[in-house]
Amino acid sequence: MATLKTNTLTGTSTAGSIAVTGEGNSTTTNLQQGLVKMWIRLDGTAVVQQNTIVLM
């Protein structure tokens, strides 16, 4: 097994575009396009922003 240790990945041709070989071992998908950029788990019983949330 070969292991790559790094803190940052960057595309060579385009910094924000890296191809990743897919599960079928032939086609590729794009790393940046496929990564989840944000996620949140919130308590729906709490008022998050009272000025902008209308409680129904």
Binding site: L9, T27, Q33
Partner: protein, 155 residues
């Protein structure tokens, strides 16, 4: 610890594999598994367990206007959009899934009120994702914003 000072790592045939830029970042255009091309482990946030890079990537996503003349706003790995009637859409896939058992999420927003959205399993294939939109009190309905994502094995 010994240091190897290098800027370019190339195969013996001259093909560049990766570049170490002046910030120390590893720059490469393609990542491929060594043992299995389509499988790369990534150490998780806890620093000990691993997750799989390929399995964790969204393979296709599509944001489109489902009202009137349907139109794509933005997408990845989507070849086109088909309007199959009220609240009924198909998103074509450019690079197909490896099977039709992928996980498909649909969400929608409309000024008509509360919108429910589902995938239609029977119409999900390796080359298309389907979405079906319903508005409370209305039933099947077109929506202004429809978003659909597919996560699963790539062909």
């Amino acid at each position: 610890m010994s240091n190897l000072l290098v800027q370019n790592i190339k195969h013996t045939n001259g093909t560049t594999s990766m570049v170490v830029n002046s910030s120390g970042h590893v720059a490469t255009d393609t990542i491929k598994g060594n043992t299995t091309a389509g499988s790369i482990s990534v150490v998780g946030e806890g620093g000990s367990n691993t997750t799989n890079l390929q399995q964790g990537l969204t393979k296709a996503w599509h944001n489109f206007d489902g009202e009137g003349t349907v139109a794509t706003r933005d997408s990845y790995n989507v070849s086109g959009l088909t309007d199959n009637g009220t609240g009924d859409y198909r998103s074509g896939i450019t690079t197909n899934f490896g099977n039709d058992d992928y996980s498909c999420q649909v969400c929608a927003s409309s000024q008509d009120g509360h919108v429910g959205s589902i995938e239609r399993e029977a119409y999900n294939t390796t080359s298309q994702m389907s979405s079906y939109i319903m508005t409370l009190g209305v039933g099947v309905d077109d929506a202004n914003i429809v978003c659909i994502e597919g996560i699963g094995d790539l062909a």
